[in-house]
């Protein structure tokens, strides 16, 4: 295999990018959010046609008009969001699209044998008869890998495969990837995590803002260089924060429990913690360990089955979302499109979303437009929110970073006592991440209590004063970020207690 070359000067998305994948290598594709990684993959799969540039395989120019062509060329992909049908079995998902037929009926026997063989060969244990909705995320990922193997793909693409895995599962995945390349498969590994590149990749291609930067041999470079290439300047991931002695307790959560309505299991299990004035407390953990539900229960979006929440001396355990807001709680939500914004409202209406009901903005049930727009103009100015048509801009048309700025402006401006920020930097580029971290630190300096939920270890350890680890709905560790290592934290996130970790 000679490699895949592709060039095409688009407007911004992909500008003259070359990517060569050698047989049997693990090749990392590194870039920030919005650097053009996904677009490039879409081109490879024929979802978009490039304005210029070609794709070659084994020296031959090939034309990819759709996913089917890609499959024929032996290219397969594990998407970041798995493409699995939840109420099909593992086996059904694997054979879907290339089923074996006998007399017009499905015949699964041979397929099952083939799948079982593959799982043995590559160490991909999974029960072919299990329903997707019943198995863990790690198992689902294995199903995706088996899907590619079943199709006898030669080029395997992994799109951000580790985001949803525990550190142990990540280690397993790395082993599997090595196995696969030993068997002659080639792997393209899309990520923005430098550790993983160092652990597993042979070479690395870096993209930045749609432009090709360079391809380097991983062994001959280091993390600092890679991150500089990715961002375009030296990045100090260290956050400077002034020393503050935390004040009185702002929020005291005790025994908070949320049950799953169907299974009756505790999604949030007896969670207790305190956040004090001038303190950033981070709850770290792998996605899907009850963080979302914990936040919903804290903010009142979901009823807690047990436990109490005291905000600044006031019991708010059973109050509404609105009452909690009035009591001094602000919330930067995990999913800004789902919760944070009404995309079809304009910017002013969105900035007023938490305050429109205040006497200042209404008169006997009628909205006071003048006040709303004046207020919005103020926030836009103060927080540097950029948009096409100012207050009248439909929020849908704004960039992700500015949408997030709008939310942060709105929430901080409520002058809350407690600010709950859930993955506030998700999907943003480094500039926006730095901006948001600065704002959080600033609020901390003003003596606000901040509860940060993060999936990124660096963020968790970088800006917090105290780090709690959540696993399967329980707080399993409470550590000082100054004296804990990544490895230790990783073990907690995977559910090992502190004592085991020390031993």
């Amino acid at each position: 295999m000679l490699g895949v070359t592709k060039k095409f000067p688009g407007i911004t998305a992909n500008d003259n990018i070359t990517l060569q994948l050698k047989k049997g290598e693990i090749h990392a594709l590194l870039g920030e959010n919005g650097a053009g990684k996904s677009t490039l993959m879409s081109v490879l799969f024929g979802l978009y046609q490039p304005e210029s540039g070609i794709i070659k395989k084994n020296g031959q120019i090939v034309k990819v008009n759709g996913p089917n062509d890609a499959t024929k060329l032996g290219i397969g992909m594990v998407h970041q969001h798995f493409k699995l049908v939840h109420n099909f079995t593992v086996l059904e998902n694997i054979v879907l699209g290339c089923e074996t037929i006998k007399n017009g009926f499905l015949s699964m026997g041979a397929a099952r044998k083939k799948v079982l063989d593959f799982s043995q060969e590559y160490g991909l244990e999974v029960d072919p008869q299990a329903l997707i909705s019943d198995i863990t995320v790690g198992m689902q990922q294995r199903t995706e890998i088996l899907k590619m193997l079943y199709r006898e793909n030669e080029i395997l693409i992994f799109d951000e495969p580790t985001a949803v895995l525990t550190p142990q599962e990540i280690t397993d995945l790395m082993v599997i990837m090595k196995n696969l390349t030993n068997q002659g498969k080639s792997i393209l590994f899309i990520t923005h995590k430098l550790n993983e590149i160092q652990a597993v990749a042979d070479r690395c291609t870096v993209l930045r803002k749609g432009k090709y930067i360079d391809t380097v041999v991983v062994a001959q470079t280091d993390k600092e260089k890679l991150s500089e290439m990715m961002v375009g300047r030296k990045v100090t991931l260290e956050v400077k924060k002034p020393l503050i002695e935390p004040g009185k307790v702002i929020v005291d959560v005790n025994g908070l429990t949320v049950k799953n309505r169907l299974s009756g299991k505790n999604i949030v299990n007896n969670v207790s913690f305190k956040v004090r004035e001038g303190e950033i407390v981070c709850i770290a953990g792998i996605d899907g360990n009850g963080q979302s539900e914990l936040v919903y229960a804290l903010t009142g979006l979901m009823k807690a089955d047990n436990g109490c929440i005291i905000l600044d001396g006031q019991d708010i355990s059973h109050t509404t979302v609105r009452a909690r807001g009035l009591a001094g709680m602000a919330h930067i939500p995990e999913d800004r499109h789902k919760h944070g914004l009404v995309l079809d409202y304009n910017l002013a209406y969105n900035l007023a979303l938490q305050r429109y009901y205040e006497p200042h903005f209404q008169n006997k049930g009628f909205l006071r437009y003048g006040e709303i727009y004046a207020y919005a103009d103020g926030l836009i100015e103060k927080y540097d929110i950029r948009s096409g048509q100012g207050t009248k801009t439909p929020v849908r048309s704004m960039s992700g970073g500015n949408q997030q700025k709008a939310i942060i402006a709105r929430e901080i401006d409520r002058a809350p006592k407690l600010l709950i920020a859930v993955q506030p930097t998700r999907g943003l580029d480094v500039g926006a991440i730095e901006y948001i971290h600065e704002r959080l630190i600033e609020e901390r300096s003003k003596g606000k209590g901040i509860l940060l939920l993060s999936l990124e270890l660096e963020e968790a350890l970088g800006i917090s004063d105290r780090t709690l680890v959540i696993f399967e709905g329980q707080i399993v560790a409470d550590v000082d970020p100054q004296d804990v290592t990544y490895q230790e934290l990783g073990l907690y996130m995977a559910g090992s207690g502190r004592k085991e970790a020390m031993a």
Binding site: L47, T71, M77, V85, G97
Partner: protein, 311 residues
């Protein structure tokens, strides 16, 4: 029985459409189109004096009803799949179009200028040889019967096989649950959804005719809300063929009671209006929905237009 079979057929049609991811509230309209053309066809042949076997004629009419249902459902499919329009709205359009069309054309072609289309019943048979003599079962299933009843069961059997035992069924279901997944493995989601909608059109068209034949001697541009009732059957049946069968028979029974409440001596003495029996299927569906909607097994991607570019 006469009430249950059309419900069964139409609900199965709806199942194919919804399992492929397209909500089809146009079932009512499709039934009218099928029934109307089928009955018109029968009327023409009967008047022409052609000597044709009754069962043969019925089968031909069924084919025509199915074909017309398929044709009209294409309009829904195009709007829902290609135009990504609101599936409820285009369904409503077809539901409104159908009776208007049937009346308009009915008046045009009838001699007296009335909207009713008449036909004669050449299709009933008194008893199936041998099977009709069986105790109980014979009385229930094989006497005073219509071919369409067996057709209903045949369709049920085939539907079950197709949905669960064939490649087509597997792919169709994947499009209704997770079209992106289907697309990523090279399944043409648009094609599968077209197939689902067209099958629903065929079955709804047939169901319309099957509804009219045993219960009436004329067609009056209505199928009495059976299309919507079939939708209720589909939901009550949780989008699964066998549960649809039971629901269809349960609702059919209620309808039968409503229709004959004044005739049955037992019910005559109970002072309950036939309107209550007529209401019952809808009330029951509403109650069932109330208790099942939180964990409904509706296809996940139902009603959401699939956009190839969107991820």
């Amino acid at each position: 029985m006469f009430f249950a079979i059309p419900l069964l057929i139409v609900a199965l049609g709806g199942m194919f459409s919804e399992r492929s991811g397209v909500v089809n509230i146009a079932l009512e309209g499709l039934m009218i189109f099928g029934a109307f053309t089928g009955v018109v066809f029968i009327g023409i042949i009967q008047k022409s004096g052609a000597h044709i076997d009754g069962q043969m004629l019925l089968l031909l009419a069924v084919l025509i009803a199915g074909a017309v249902g398929a044709l009209v459902s294409l309009a829904h499919a195009y709007s829902a799949i290609n135009m990504k329009a609101d599936q409820i709205i285009s369904g409503t359009a077809i539901n409104m179009l159908a009776p208007a069309f049937a009346i308009f054309v009915g008046r045009r072609i009838s001699e007296k200028g009335t909207q009713q289309v008449h036909f004669e019943d050449w299709f009933r048979f008194d008893s199936v040889p041998k099977l009709g003599d069986l105790p109980i079962i014979g009385d229930l299933f094989f006497k005073n019967a219509y071919l369409t009843t067996y057709l209903g069961f045949l369709i049920l059997f085939i539907s079950w096989i197709v949905l669960y035992k064939t490649r087509f069924g597997l792919r169709l279901r994947s499009c209704g649950e997770h079209p992106q997944a289907a697309d990523s493995v090279g399944i043409n989601v648009y094609k599968m959804r077209y197939a689902g909608v067209i099958i629903s059109g065929i079955l709804a068209g047939i169901g319309g005719l099957v509804f009219v034949i045993p219960t009436s001697r004329e067609f009056n541009a209505t199928v009495s809300g059976y299309g919507f009732l079939a939708l209720a059957v589909l939901i009550f049946g949780q989008w699964k063929p066998l549960r649809i069968l039971f629901t269809a028979f349960f609702f059919g029974l209620l309808k039968a009671v409503a229709a004959s409440s004044s005739g049955l001596p037992v019910l005559k003495d109970i002072p309950i209006s036939s309107y209550f029996y007529k209401m019952m299927p809808y009330v029951i569906t509403l109650i069932v929905l109330t208790f099942t909607s939180k964990n409904s097994q509706a296809p996940k991607a139902e009603g959401i237009p699939y956009d190839k570019g969107g991820r």
